[in-house]
């Protein structure tokens, strides 16, 4: 049985355990129907031209993990940003681990989707926001919607800000030979609220993991949301991350994506600007080796005047890795005075690595400033020579330059501990000690 059939037929069993009178039930049923008609996207579709999910569909993933597994904090500590105090929402094989988590209802809600679905006090928020930004057409998103049950639920009321950043961690223990996870996150920052979130997916063994995640982020007027995605997973873990962001007047949302490991990563990052004077930032660093594959698919939809968007994606590709960047900016007729910028720079390190870049602009308004740039190249020989002539060994000199190349993406990271953590991972990837603390 292929994965699609398996998923569709498991839907009934999945629903059995849920409240069928719940309004979300209808959303789920509609979603599974859409997925049943469309199935997994294939390379024939323009949006999936460079990324194939074929091999994943051949694996017999278990959809519901059979046994619960407990983990000791000391075993997984290194996957947390443990240097600072944070709220934590931790899932082990898709199941919430209260032991490893630290949630709160003190002024802000940092808790679980499952309780948000079931408890009446969250009902209103669910009704207003759940599945309102996510696509009802895109097949993988609807697949997630159909199975939406668990994930992080973060609600920041007006003028509030949580005391500390929030970490969302998905761990896969490898108890199942192959596991499919479908976390569903809902993040709402009401007017003038502010929040910082770090999300990470981590497989602890060499078993296959396939995560199809959907995150919806709503930013109210003047709200500020910082979202960091750390993708440094095991070489057998695949991730399709669908993120939908809806912004209101003068809000600021920054999403940083660090794709440093994993078998196949596909990021669908969609920004919808539903107000004026909005600022959207999309930044990414990708450093790959082996046969890894990363596909960044971004969309910024400027629907109102006087908004800005900044995109900056840097990629370094070694061995037989493949990088894809597909960025799209749409500027509607009424979105005058839009300032949209998109940049994608890539370095290929090996003859077997590939980069496919497709930066697109679709512009319907005339009074706008829109530009994009894309480069593919190598390290500057002269700069390399300069460093070597000053006694820096070739390997270090190269690493230094690559570090500098990726660094301006890191500049806008607002959690210093996270920045130095990412720096460490990058240094590790590049295989050097750079002689200074990054």
């Amino acid at each position: 049985m292929d994965l699609k059939e398996k998923l569709v037929s498991s839907f009934m069993a999945f629903e059995d355990g849920l409240d069928l009178d719940h309004p979300v039930h209808e959303e789920r049923s509609r979603a599974i129907k859409n997925f049943e008609t469309k199935g997994f996207p294939s390379k024939k579709e323009e949006a999936w031209k460079y990324t194939s999910l074929k091999s994943l569909q051949k694996i017999d993933f278990s959809i519901f993990p059979k046994q619960e597994s407990a983990l000791e904090y000391k075993d997984v500590k290194k996957y947390f940003l443990h240097e600072i105090d944070t709220y934590k929402i931790v899932f082990v094989d898709g199941v919430y681990s209260s032991y490893l988590s630290e949630t709160t209802h003190d002024g802000v809600d940092v808790c679980l989707m499952s309780s948000a679905f079931s408890k009446p006090m969250f009902q209103q928020v669910i009704e207003v926001y759940f599945n309102k930004a996510a696509s009802k057409e895109e097949s993988l998103t609807t697949l997630n919607t159909a199975f939406s049950k668990e994930g992080a639920y973060i609600y920041i009321p007006k003028n509030k800000m949580p005391k500390k950043p929030i970490q969302i961690l998905h761990l896969a223990t490898g108890n199942e030979a192959a596991l499919m996870l479908q976390p569903r996150n809902l993040i709402v920052a009401e007017d003038n609220a502010e929040v910082q979130i770090i999300e990470r997916h981590q497989s602890l063994t060499g078993n296959e993991v396939f995560t199809n995640s959907v995150t919806e982020i709503f930013a109210g007027k003047d709200a500020i949301v910082d979202y960091y995605k750390v993708q440094n997973d095991a070489p057998t873990a695949s991730l399709v991350d669908n993120t939908y962001i809806s912004q209101k007047n003068s809000s600021v949302v920054r999403v940083h994506t660090f794709s440093l490991g994993g078998k196949l990563i596909r990021n669908n990052l969609n920004f919808y600007q539903n107000g004026e004077r909005i600022d959207s930032t999309l930044k990414g660093v990708t450093i790959l080796g082996d046969k890894q594959h990363v596909d960044h698919h971004t969309l910024v939809h400027h629907a109102q005047p006087n908004c800005e968007s900044h995109q900056d994606y840097k990629g370094i590709f070694g061995d037989s890795s493949t990088g894809v960047f597909n960025g799209k900016i749409i500027v509607d007729k009424i979105a005058q005075k839009t300032d949209a910028f998109q940049q994608n720079n890539n370095i290929l390190l090996s003859d077997k690595s590939t980069i496919n870049s497709k930066p697109q602009l679709e512009i319907f308004a005339d009074d706008v400033k829109c530009s994009h740039g894309c480069t593919i190249g190598q390290l500057d020989e002269e700069a390399l020579f300069y460093l070597r002539s000053r006694g820096i060994p070739k390997k270090e000199a190269k690493a230094l330059m690559m570090y500098a190349f990726a660094n301006n993406v890191l500049e806008s990271v607002r959690i210093p501990e996270l920045k130095s953590r990412i720096n460490k991972i990058i240094a590790e990837k590049l295989g050097v000690r750079m002689g200074f603390d990054l």
């Binding site: 323009e46 007729k333 009424i334 005058q336 890539n346 290929l348 390190l349 090996s350 003859d351 077997k352 690595s353 590939t354 980069i355 496919n356 870049s357 497709k358 930066p359 697109q360 602009l361 679709e362 512009i363 319907f364 308004a365 005339d366 009074d367 706008v368 400033k369 829109c370 530009s371 994009h372 740039g373 894309c374 480069t375 593919i376 190249g377 190598q378």
Partner: protein
């Protein structure tokens, strides 16, 4: 100021297509529809050898299995391929020895177009192979060219007289089965131009073909084959105008360029097919496949100025097969009213040290849609490939759209690829500056657009540059809000 902007806009919208007239010449037309008999009939009418008929049939069979592509960013009512007549030739077929013998009505047509064959022959030094409804009726300067060993004739003549060359190269760059329209063209092409430049010869003049679509309900299927043998050079011009017609006319041409070792081909196009009226009715569908193949050290340069057609779907490409070969693409695409253009280029880097440059300028006004779609592909064996792409769009008014869809695929670590694109409008301050110095708005826009497209205009041969500049002005007058 002489005009207010409103008036200008109005004038532009009501501006009639200058070249919209219809020459009443009796023509010899095949019945509408397409099947194997029609393909054979076309081949027969042209007195083609058997291998050519077979070649056409092969293409036709492939075409039947194909589906019309839908990926382009254009919307239009698909032509009914069974409702088109695939062959139409002016009735008076004999070759003329001098211009006096040419049908005076035909000459009149050329006059309105501003291409006096006579004048051009004498003054411009341009050999014109005029294609009027698919059969070439006047070829000039053939003698001068023949002395150098250059063959410049219609493709049907080439099939008769130089079958070995045609057989060797036809379909090598754009195979019959390449795409839907290329297959259709291969099956039914009525005529076109053929050009062969022998080894080491530098063609002394610009070669030029003017196309005209004349008969109602006839599709125009041109086939052009240009071969530049080792070390030769040729500059080839192609210009088009079509008379006003209410129904959509289909133009599906195929152009193949072959530049052998150390050769250089410069191919320039000014395209001014009838774009439809200001309500978007009528106009020509332009679905063209243009491709060039570069051998070692060869260079192909495409320059195009696209101002016409209701729907344009065109990607002049370069296959950089030989080491050190160079591909260039310079384009200005102007769309107004309801025009739609999806145009760009493909640069396929296969050889080592290959270089390509893409400069594309899109100008959209009215309610038109203008898309750039390009591919830069660096193969894993193409060491030190270098590409620079620049796509700039200029928007006039907020009812039009400008789109950029570049595809960049690199499989070699030594590749250096740069792509940049910008979208902007004509600055109010720029217009104000001009106004302030006594230049009215219309002139100011012409000036700014001219500056915007200068990089491309500069690449055109002199005669064409003037015409192109004029076309730009006509197409855009007063379209700034």
């Amino acid at each position: 100021m002489a005009y207010t902007e409103e008036e200008l806009k109005k004038e532009l919208e009501t501006k009639e297509y200058e070249y919209g007239f219809y020459t009443d010449i009796e023509s010899d037309t095949l019945p509408k529809g397409l099947n194997e008999e029609i393909v054979i009939a076309i081949s027969k009418k042209k007195e083609e050898p058997e291998w050519m008929t077979e070649w056409r049939l092969e293409a036709f069979r492939a075409w039947k299995e194909m589906e019309e592509p839908e990926w382009a960013n254009v919307t239009y009512k698909k032509p009914d391929f069974q409702d088109i007549s695939y062959y139409s030739a002016p009735n008076k077929k004999p070759k003329y020895n001098s211009l006096d013998e040419v049908d005076p009505e035909l000459l009149d047509t050329f006059k309105k177009l501003g291409i006096s064959v006579d004048e051009q022959k004498k003054l411009a030094g341009v050999a014109v192979d005029i294609v009027m409804d698919s059969v070439s009726v006047a070829t000039t300067f053939k003698k001068t060219l023949a002395e150098k060993g250059i063959i410049f004739c219609s493709i049907s003549e080439a099939i008769q007289e130089h079958p070995e060359l045609v057989k060797k190269y036809l379909g090598t760059v754009v195979p019959q089965k390449d795409n839907f329209y290329a297959a259709l063209n291969s099956a039914v092409f009525s005529d076109g131009s053929f050009c062969y430049i022998p080894k080491g010869v530098r063609c002394p003049m610009e070669l030029s073909t003017y196309f005209r679509i004349n008969q109602a309900g006839t599709g125009q299927f041109e086939r052009t084959l240009v071969i530049a043998d080792e070390g030769s050079y040729v500059s080839y011009l192609e210009g088009c105008t079509a008379p006003m017609r209410d129904e959509n006319q289909l133009h599906a041409a195929v152009v193949e360029l072959i530049a052998l070792d150390d050769a250089e081909i410069k191919y320039s196009t000014v395209q001014n097919w009838y774009p439809g009226n200001d309500e978007g009715k009528g106009g020509v569908f332009n679905f063209v496949t243009k491709r060039g193949l570069c051998e070692k050290n060869a260079k192909i340069s495409w320059t195009q100025v696209e101002t016409g057609s209701a729907v344009t779907w065109k990607y002049p490409s370069c296959i950089l097969k030989g080491d050190h070969s160079i591909g260039e693409f310079y384009s200005i695409a102007v769309t107004n009213n309801f025009q739609q253009a999806d145009t760009g280029t493909k640069m396929i880097h296969l050889g080592k040290n290959t270089k390509s440059t893409i400069i594309s300028k899109g100008i959209s006004a009215g309610q038109s849609q203008n898309s750039y779609r390009g591919l830069v592909q660096v193969n894993s064996r193409a060491e030190n490939a270098r590409n620079f792409s620049q796509c700039d769009s200029l928007l006039m008014g907020n009812r039009c759209g400008a789109h950029t869809f570049p595809y960049i695929e690199a499989k070699n670590k030594t590749a250096q690829i740069e792509h940049e694109a910008t979208t902007s409008k004509i600055g109010e301050d720029q217009i104000f500056y001009c106004n302030q110095r006594g230049i009215d708005t219309e002139k100011a826009i012409a000036l700014i657009v001219n500056g915007f497209s200068k990089e491309v205009l500069n690449k055109l041969p002199m005669e064409f540059a003037v015409e192109a500049q004029k076309l730009l002005e006509i197409s855009l007058e007063g379209s700034v809000g």
